[in-house]
């Protein structure tokens, strides 16, 4: 029998009872890992609170959180209206993108899938461009909201269009990916056209939006993204077992009694909501949705009961660290967050590829 050496004791001639204890130990360790990730993510968020152009020492920040009156009024505004929304939004966006990425990688059976693979980012950028360049927005809404609302509508719309197209062709994952790429190309083409006719002013605004930025964070965006997360998380959690089964193959999952088409459809709905909302408020931020789930998988394995929470936390952590980096990398300048995630995400991604052992 060609068995490779078992790498978790006890094994070999261990009894079932002993193996059960090993199993329990692994489960316990996973739970601790997830808890640990939560702590680290929160710490990163706190670090995010500490960084910024205005010098605010940690002690003052803590006091300012508990009792705002200990700070001068300008510093209160800095902490509560600027830094706190940014830190919270970073955590939420990272969580949303990573959760969407984890679900996508499972339902598309593609380890390179992330929320923006299916043309969502180009479509969202197109929506934003329509508002910025042509001044087209949903009538009746406040002009200040046109860019995020457009981005959201177009992102959601592109995924809806994708669902319709894919269902027309049978609903399998291959047609999903192909149609997604096509939609992405089409949106990019229109986007280029808009960029061509844009005025200098609008062009700069558009390019800046494309690079992703947490600077527009405020309590409203935090509230909305929190609501979206609160809405989708329970459903993601409920689908965790089914998603795990999907990893064993669609036929197997089907034979376990899972409606695979149903699962895929609703998963895509969740992914759409999460990605569209994140993009609406922050612009295009790549790599977090790709790298987050991979790191989580390396830590806790493929069981979605642990993978989903871990992805959420790793995503939040990565985004918080990126936010810190964006403020610190170049003195006096706050770099667009999308650039930071790309710069940092790329070497991490390559490192993951080189370290491939059991997953991917």
């Amino acid at each position: 029998m060609q068995t490779s050496a078992c790498h978790k004791p006890p094994c070999g001639n261990a009894t079932t009872e002993e193996r059960w204890h090993t199993h329990r130990r692994i489960v316990r360790r996973r739970r601790w890992l997830v808890a640990g990730l939560a702590v680290v993510a929160l710490l990163a968020g706190f670090l995010d609170l500490l960084t910024g152009p205005a010098a605010l020492p940690a002690g003052q920040v803590l006091n300012g959180l508990i009792n705002p009156d200990t700070l001068s009024r300008p510093m209160q505004v800095v902490l509560w209206q600027m830094r706190l929304p940014v830190a919270l939004l970073a955590l939420l966006v990272g969580a949303a993108l990573a959760l969407a990425g984890a679900e996508m990688q499972s339902i598309l059976h593609n380890p390179l899938a992330e929320p923006f693979t299916l043309g969502v980012s180009s479509s969202a950028a197109l929506g934003a461009a329509l508002a910025i360049v042509l001044g087209w927005g949903i009538p009746g809404t406040d002009i200040a909201w046109w860019v995020p609302v457009n981005a959201f509508v177009f992102a959601l719309g592109s995924l809806l269009l994708l669902q319709i197209l894919a269902r027309w062709r049978g609903g399998d994952t291959q047609s999903l990916v192909l149609f997604g790429i096509a939609i992405g190309f089409a949106a990019s083409a229109f986007l280029s056209l808009l960029q061509f006719i844009a005025s200098e002013d609008a062009l700069q605004q558009l390019v800046f939006w494309n690079m992703g930025s947490l600077a527009r964070a405020d309590w409203q965006s935090v509230a909305i993204l929190s609501a979206v997360m609160a809405l989708t998380l329970p459903f993601s959690w409920r689908a965790a077992g089914q998603l795990t089964s999907l990893r064993l193959g669609e036929e197997q999952a089907h034979s376990f009694g899972i409606n695979v088409v149903h699962l895929r459809r609703w998963s895509l709905v969740r992914v759409s909501l999460l990605a569209a909302t994140a993009v609406a408020f922050v612009g295009i931020v790549g790599f977090v949705g790709l790298v987050g789930p991979h790191v989580a998988r390396m830590l806790v394995g493929d069981n979605h009961r642990y993978l989903l929470p871990a992805s959420v936390l790793v995503g939040a952590l990565l985004m918080a660290l990126a936010s810190v980096a964006s403020k610190v990398l170049v003195t006096g300048v706050i770099m667009p967050i999308g650039i930071v995630t790309a710069l940092v995400g790329l070497p991490v991604f390559i490192g993951l590829m080189l370290k491939r052992r059991h997953t991917i």
Partner: protein, 370 residues
């Protein structure tokens, strides 16, 4: 002195002293976005969003650096910076120099940390509604004012005069306003006369950042230097096509249109990019040569302006009123022979600026026409 006399003197002294104490009036203005800006006393810790605003403040206050706590110096070249610094190096070095390239990069936090008592944003940075909201919440007054005179407006120096009020130099602001208005009206009235006499309006190609890239960028009728051409009675080619501040025309279009006059704008920042070089500490010959180089690009050597020798260059950071007079003299040399832009610049420099700017601020291919 008698006892009564002593009392009277004392009383008079007290009354005189009391009357010379300035009334602690609150300063209140409406800025150019219609917002009410209130200050308890003249501003002494100002943030300026536009590099040229330093020069504007310098017209009001002999030592502007002492009143500025932070400033977006963005694309300003080192020579101009050195010039401003020479007024008061110590105060200047204390200014926090920021580089903000657009309203979306304006960080309220970076401004708040310097505890300004007034933030002045021009209409471009006035779009940073997010940042403005933060600043107001932090209790910092924000005034949206475009300080550079808008010569097409009814009151060109509205912004500058309002800033003058905010820094307690209202009288001086009014003076400058009257001067500029008078000179502007002189040109505009003459142009109106010429129009009534059906004098032909020369066609003009005005190219911003002349020389970088192929021919040609062109000003449109937006809020900028392009308006001066229209004010001075010229017709911008491409104005029908270009709807906003500037746009690109093809060399073929330019050759076919064959404008009567060419005016390029330039600055020191175009030196490395082989463009039109003008500004502080630029030598006249070098400026002229750079203009010559610029006109070598395809589409330009055969236009009417070249044949008639009516090719000129303007410094993009110059006084608007000086530029207006320059353009008027170039468009209608005979009719505006009495204008002396150099004298206007000298007047503004001497009376209103702490330094006299040295360098080449305009040039022509044909020296006699300068």
């Amino acid at each position: 002195m008698t006892k009564a006399g002593k009392w009277l003197t004392a009383l008079l002294t007290v009354v005189c002293t009391l009357s010379t104490i300035p009334a602690r009036a609150q300063i209140e203005i409406q800025d150019q976005a219609g917002r009410t800006v209130r200050l308890a006393e003249p501003a002494r810790r100002i943030f300026l969003s536009e590099p040229g605003d330093f020069a504007m403040l310098a017209m009001l206050d002999a030592n502007p650096a002492a009143r500025i706590v932070a400033w977006n110096r963005w694309r300003l070249d080192d020579q101009t910076i050195a010039q401003w610094r020479s007024i008061d190096p110590v105060a200047f070095d204390r200014i926090h120099q920021m580089r903000v390239d657009g309203p979306q990069n304006l960080s309220a936090e970076s401004i708040i940390m310097h505890a300004p008592d007034l933030v002045v944003l021009d209409h471009f940075f006035g779009k940073a509604t997010h940042a403005i909201r933060h600043l107001e919440r932090a209790g910092i007054p924000v005034a949206i004012l475009t300080l550079e005179p808008a010569l097409t407006a009814e009151n060109p120096t509205e912004g500058l005069e309002k800033l003058a009020m905010l820094v307690g130099k209202a009288e001086r602001g009014r003076e400058i306003g009257e001067l500029i208005r008078a000179r502007r009206d002189r040109v505009v009235d003459k142009v109106q006369q010429l129009r009534e006499l059906n004098v032909e309006s020369p066609t003009v190609l005005m190219e911003p950042h002349a020389g970088i890239g192929p021919c040609c960028l062109s000003m449109g009728l937006g809020r900028s230097i392009g308006d001066l051409v229209a004010l001075a009675g010229g017709t911008l080619i491409g104005s029908e096509i270009i709807k906003e501040m500037s746009g690109r025309l093809s060399p073929e279009y330019v050759t076919a249109a064959s404008p009567d006059v060419y005016i390029g704008t330039g600055g020191r920042h175009l030196t490395e990019r082989d463009g039109l070089v003008l500004g502080v500490d630029v030598e006249a010959g070098a400026a002229r040569n750079s203009l010559g180089r610029v006109m070598q690009r395809m589409g330009l050597p055969h236009i009417r302006a070249m044949e008639q020798g009516r090719v000129h260059g303007i410094w993009h950071s110059g006084y608007g009123i000086v530029n207006l007079e320059l353009i008027a003299t170039w468009l209608y040399p005979e009719h505006f022979a009495d204008l002396d832009p150099a004298a206007t610049q000298l007047l503004l420099d001497k009376h209103y600026l702490p330094v006299v700017q040295k360098g080449t601020f305009w040039t022509s291919l044909n020296p006699a026409k300068e």
